[in-house]
Amino acid sequence: MSFDHPGLLYEGVEDYLTATTKFVRGAVAAGDAVLVAVPGPNLTALRDSLSDVAASVDFADMTVAGRNPGRIIPGVLLAFAATHAGRRVSIIGEPIWPGRSAVEYPACAQHEALINAVFTGRDAAILCPYDAGRLDAAAVRDAWQTHPVMIVDGGRQDSPAYVDPIITAAQFNQPLPAVPAGAARQPYSEATDLGRVRRFVAESAARAGLPEARADDLITAANELAENTIVHTPGGGVMAMWTEPGTLVCQIDDHGHLADPLAGRIPAPAHIEGGRGLLLAHHLCDLVRIHTTASGTTIRLHMTL
């Protein structure tokens, strides 16, 4: 029983395939349950290279399954481990790619750090490739901070920059860009306000042209988060909605403090009725960014249009 979480720095597809196929073939030979969750182009290359062991490997496009980085731990990694309970799992998880936006990135870095907190003590290996040739230098530097071990030029080394994951998660608990002046706003404070909150979200989603099924998802997520405000925090909250190019944004501001950095990342036990609001938001939305302080919390939801 041990957890291994190496970061892999690669440059170019050949370098990528050499390291990742070696990881997969070793894991398959050892009898592990194996999952490859990487962005589309890398997925295609890896599938082609692994055709001989494809029956022993699950594949997922990380730009879909892990579009929202906050969904990767519960929806991809823990979900895969749960379906292979009792077996060691070996996973290639590539959550950070050059197209990740500045608003998404802090959530990606928090995700990478929190993998360490969630998987410690589990029988698992999670290899995280970083496209060192194309990513910002800062993202590569952060990889050294979020991975206890790094693989560079085919060699493993302990990362001297590795930091306690909870500290790293706190470091990326960063303020969000300001809400645009023209955003629509809906305050709420009581349970009987939730219907108005849902209609507010529905109207904004319809104006933005969000398809109905996705609008239902956003309404569900926003309702759960507004309920959290009403149940767990003093003084109500405000929901704001606006569009950015290609994205509908919904932000919840309240006076609560989200003390647990793992909130929303671990499925609640089946017998517990509540406590799934944030988990559900991660599951349904394309991005969930959180900034929390002792005096208030901001949660921003993105839906791709």
Partner: protein, 286 residues
């Protein structure tokens, strides 16, 4: 004094919480609700303080109360003359009382019973008053039968905010002064016999969670057993939150439950909560 709004449009089966903060609003709400009852040929039963004073207030508000009182369509008494006669509040006895009154109203030729419970007494140390939130949630099982409807009037000057919150969430609907007059009761329960079960109409969220829980938790007890699974018809349920999914799944833990008329978003939400693994639960599409 009589205004259009949710109070004017409540129907048999409804159970609404009316929170008032001043006497004028109280009279206006009661006048509206009672007028609708006279119009719809309901037996109207007021159980609250000072019936004589209310009769005078109703007349002043333009409600022709005295002929209705004389012919027995409008009946007024204090809670102490009715369900508090023993000096103790017994929720089960009170619920049985509503059933009896509903049957009597229909036997007397009325459409059904339209009740008004002024709950001011519960602010006093009446034995059993602690069971109020349980009662308000479970009395929905009586109204779901469709023979009776009720509003419960709470004066927010008499109750703590916490108490108000608890009782409010036990009602499927809440009437707020100043709300959109077109607004419908948030949630309705309609008991069905073929197939046996209940139809949910409206929106299930924190504001009516305890009502939903009571109705679904006790669905097997309230449904004559005929070997068929209990049916929860959600085809008219426009919204249901995560907790509602857990409540549905819990109901299926005790008896076989068929959820019918499920929208794609509701099916996705049930799947997220692991409904596929609940042996007693089947989910059918709309």
């Amino acid at each position: 004094m009589i205004e259009a709004g949710m109070l004017d449009r409540l129907r048999p089966g409804d159970h609404a919480c009316v929170v008032i903060g001043d006497d004028e609003t109280r009279v206006r709400c009661l006048a509206t609700y009672i007028s609708a009852g006279l119009r719809e040929s309901d037996r109207i039963l007021y159980l609250g303080p000072d019936p004589d004073g209310l009769a005078g207030d109703l007349v002043a508000a333009g409600v022709n109360a005295h002929p209705a009182l004389a012919r027995g369509q409008l009946v007024m008494a204090t809670p102490e003359q009715a369900y508090l006669a023993s000096g103790t509040f017994d929720p089960e006895v009170t619920m049985a009382g509503w059933r009896t009154e509903a049957g009597r109203a229909q036997a007397d030729g009325y459409r059904g019973l339209r009740a008004i419970g002024d709950m001011s007494w519960a602010a006093r140390p009446v034995p059993g008053a602690d069971d109020l939130a349980w009662y308000e949630a479970n009395v929905n099982r009586v109204f779901a039968d469709g023979g009776a409807m009720a509003i419960c009037v709470y004066d927010r000057r008499l109750f703590s905010a916490i108490d108000m919150e608890r009782v409010n969430r036990a009602h499927p609907a809440s009437v707020e002064p100043g709300a959109d007059p077109e607004e419908d009761p948030a949630l309705r329960f309609i008991r069905t016999f073929d197939p046996p079960g209940v139809r949910l109409r409206g929106e299930a969220d924190l504001s009516n969670r305890q009502a939903l829980r009571a109705v679904l938790e006790r669905l097997a007890d309230d449904t004559p057993a005929d070997g068929r699974p209990l049916t929860v018809d959600v085809s008219e349920l426009a919204f249901a939150d995560a907790a509602a999914m857990r409540i549905l799944m819990a109901a299926a833990g005790a008896s076989r439950v068929r959820v019918t008329g499920s929208s794609p978003s509701l099916r996705r939400l049930l799947a997220f909560h692991g409904a596929d693994a609940v042996a007693g639960l089947t989910v059918e599409a709309a």
